[in-house]
């Protein structure tokens, strides 16, 4: 039924500025035109012409050689999330391309702008099961915002222009452009124009001011309004508008893991974390508010718990850029479609100044209870066993909340996100939606390269670290000053916690007989240290933070510590357990 897309949308009339160059050279020139100065990747047969072209432009485009294509994707994600720019990955055909899939899926569910460029076998061999041929377009389709196969050199400018535009506009996401080797070798008349419009695609729905007024009216009449904010605030660069909005209305605000760092930790209206391992008050009081205002978040099941017991009493206002998120999980009484910055700018005009002391006090009371039952012991354990929380507490003391936190997935992720202090936005980088173990280390490398003047602390567990630890070599080769904190409990801790609580302590395949991590890190020429007793912890963390270079700090923590509070799977948010 379909025809091949031709490069018709961008004027292909030859002007004096056109130049005859190879497709591969065009790829690199386009990267430069799009402001890309850093790409992550791994070479191989089908992408070699592009790598050859990169060789001539090393002054403009630096290439980071990951040790596995998955690492390249997570590094590109870390880079994108910390800098707000598009992360770019290069990989060859076949296994190179398939190894990108986990990172692409992660970027898709966490709305990270990413452009992946894969080499493909020559167009004459497509469909012949050629060496390293795989249908990466078909494979990546469910996890990309858009993808396209280029088989002719002259299609490259239009395809990549669209790729960058689609990746970064609207609700961002990953795109993949697959370029056959002959299209890289063949020449084209090069004339590049950035894409600013795709006729079938509406990145930002137009704001309906009537909905904004309705929302404001409901907020103005609310007795116990409550805000849930997510990454939409960060992606829209709407942190200042968000703060102005909550300060004017005095509404307690809780964050999803993806929204973390959009509002500084110590802000009096920041009431904490939502979800399964979030704070007590933010979960419990979801079912006591009268108006729930969701901003740039998508009511993930890890946030809502059992939907049939979620905020049934509340009127829901949902500020969201993606129409498909409206009424997907939680019905919105007043949907406000649009970019968060634009929506909040308008909403601020129509809301009345207010304060909600008594309501806010309820959150404070919950905090006090959580502090007594959970936090106190986590941050200042009474036993000799080291806790993850106390390590994070000391990090906060040393950084003052100024660092970028990159986490892997599991117990350490929940503890680090719960207790790390933030003073700046775009400072929390984690795999939220996909929960990708192995994300942390390469993402931290990308984050450090995207924010070279900031301290980047990568908190990993012993499980996830071993999934992508080969990127220690990339850290060494790039000289990126990544601080890797391994919280080692010699277990797949989160699964073990569930086994303890819900599977009668049957620890099926969660005990880790680990390698000598100190020797491993040293083998990658990275400075290391290991802490097993509390007396050595503070000095070790101080050295870890202050050392001018990458550093691997391993802390042996309680083997069977649990993360609380917890909303058990299938329970409602109000059924949150403190112990």
């Amino acid at each position: 039924m379909a025809t091949v897309e031709t490069p018709d949308k961008i004027e292909s009339i030859k002007t004096s500025t056109t130049e005859r160059i190879s497709g591969a050279e065009a790829v690199v020139r386009i990267l430069i035109e799009e402001g890309v100065d850093l790409v992550f990747g791994y070479p191989g047969g089908a992408i070699m012409p592009v790598y050859d072209a990169l060789y001539d432009h090393q002054d403009h485009v630096q290439h980071v050689l990951a040790r596995h294509e998955q690492g390249a994707t997570h590094a590109a994600q870390g880079y994108a999330r910390v800098s707000g720019k598009v992360g770019v990955c290069l990989a060859t055909s076949g296994p190179g391309a398939t190894n990108l899939i986990t990172g692409i899926a992660d970027a898709q569910i966490d709305s990270t702008p990413m452009v992946c460029i894969t080499g493909q076998v020559p167009s004459s061999l497509l469909g012949s099961d050629a060496f390293q041929e795989t249908d990466i377009i078909g494979i990546s389709m469910p996890v990309t915002k858009w993808n396209f196969q280029v088989t002719k050199a002259e299609e490259i400018p239009n395809a990549l222009a669209k790729a960058f535009f689609i990746a970064r506009s609207g609700r961002p996401g990953p795109v993949l452009v697959d370029i056959t080797k002959d299209a890289q070798f063949n020449e084209l008349d090069f004339d590049y124009k950035k894409c600013t419009n795709v006729r079938s695609y509406i990145p930002r729905p137009a704001l309906d001011i009537e909905k904004v007024k309705e929302a404001a009216e409901l907020i103005n009449s609310a007795k116990r309004p409550y805000i849930l904010f997510g990454q939409g605030v960060i992606l829209a660069n709407a942190e200042a508008e968000f703060k102005e909005f909550i300060e004017k209305t005095g509404i307690p605000s809780a964050w999803t893991i993806m929204g973390l760092s959009a509002l500084e930790t110590d802000h009096p209206l920041n009431v904490g974390m939502l979800g399964m391992h979030g704070n007590y008050g933010p979960n419990l009081l979801t079912n006591e508010c009268d108006v729930l205002i969701a901003i740039g978040m998508r009511f993930d099941d890890r946030v809502t718990g059992n939907l049939s017991k979620y905020a049934k009493q509340a009127k829901v206002i949902h500020l969201e850029i993606d129409p498909a998120e409206i009424n997907k999980n939680v019905p919105a009484d007043i949907p406000v479609l649009g970019d968060a910055k634009e929506s909040l700018t308008e909403l601020i005009k129509y809301v009345n100044p207010a304060s909600h002391h008594d309501w806010l006090q309820k959150f404070r009371d919950c905090d006090a209870l959580e502090h007594e039952k959970v936090i106190q012991d986590e941050l200042h354990p009474k036993t000799e066993i080291l806790s993850m929380g106390e390590v994070i507490r000391i990090i906060n003391d040393k950084t003052g909340g100024d660092a970028v936190l990159v986490t892997d997935v599991g117990q350490h992720q929940m503890v680090a996100c719960r207790y790390t202090k933030f003073t700046k936005s775009k400072s929390n980088i984690t795999s939220g939606g996909l929960g990708t173990m192995g994300f942390g280390l390469p993402a931290a490398l990308g984050a450090q390269l995207g924010a070279p003047n900031r301290t980047v602390i990568c908190v990993v567990g012993d499980g996830g670290f071993q999934m992508t630890l080969q990127e220690m070599a990339t850290i060494h080769q790039t000289g990126a000053k990544v601080k890797v904190l391994l919280l080692n409990n010699e277990f797949l801790g989160m699964v073990r916690q569930w086994q303890q609580l819900f599977f009668d302590k049957r620890y099926s395949s969660t005990i880790m007989e680990n390698p000598n991590f100190q020797a491993l890190a040293a083998g990658f020429y990275i400075k290391t240290n290991k802490v097993t007793v509390r007396e050595k912890l503070e000095a070790a963390v101080e050295e870890f933070i202050n050392y001018d270079g990458s550093y691997f700090l391993e802390v042996m923590v309680g083997k069977e510590n649990n993360v609380f509070p917890m909303v058990p799977s299938g329970s409602g948010v109000a059924e949150i357990r403190l112990e």
């Binding site: 039924m1 379909a2 025809t3 091949v4 897309e5 377009i137 078909g138 389709m141 469910p142 915002k145 858009w146 993808n147 396209f148 196969q149 689609i166 419009n197 795709v198 006729r199 079938s200 695609y201 509406i202 729905p205 137009a206 309906d208 993606d322 129409p323 498909a324 409206i326 009424n327 997907k328």
Partner: protein, 182 residues
């Protein structure tokens, strides 16, 4: 708005660009949610260069509504919507191949074909091909009547449908194309 919660027949229409791979992108939205596509038809639309998908499913309205939003979210989909059974004029086309000898043994087959407002497309030495357009129950009824005469081959097309409104979503598609989207 209250949605009817029981599964029922829906026709989903999507106006799209005409690009390689879009069919796959559309179908995986259904696959991901384990929704069976009863039929899927693509064709040109009333607008030059714009394609149209017509998809038949039996699902709850809530699911269909979410799926339509996911369809519309795809970069190359201009507009999508769904219709209940009574909101569309729909047809399917069926072809029946039966042995020619069944005609030579009396006038029964010709009577059946006439009564069902079907027609002979071709009459060959060994077989004839009968064509019938209509609702599923109508093409099924003809099938049942022809069955005793031996059906060598049978095929039915996917559903095609237009809305029971003066214009379908085509007008909205024009707005998208003109960049006047709300």
């Amino acid at each position: 708005m209250e949605l009817e919660s029981e599964k029922q027949e829906f026709t989903i229409t999507a106006y799209t660009e005409n690009h390689v791979g879009l069919l796959h992108r559309i179908t995986i939205i259904f696959t991901k949610r384990k929704i069976n596509l009863e039929s899927l038809t693509t064709s040109e639309s009333e607008m030059e260069g714009i394609h149209r998908f017509t998809i038949a499913v039996t699902e709850t309205e809530e699911t269909v509504r979410k799926v339509v939003k996911q369809l519309e979210k795809q970069v190359e989909v201009l507009k999508a919507d769904y219709y209940k059974k009574k909101e569309v004029v729909q047809q399917e086309l069926a072809l029946y191949k039966i042995p020619t000898e069944s005609l030579t043994n009396g006038l029964e087959v010709e009577r059946i074909v006439r009564e069902h407002s079907a027609r002979f497309l071709t009459i060959e030495k060994d077989f004839v091909v009968i064509e019938k357009a209509g609702y599923r129950r109508e093409t099924k009824a003809l099938f049942d009547e022809l069955k005793p005469y031996g059906i060598n081959e049978f095929v039915r097309s996917g559903r095609i449908a237009v809305s029971r409104q003066e214009y379908g979503i085509g007008k909205l598609v024009e707005k998208v194309l003109a960049g006047e989207t709300a």
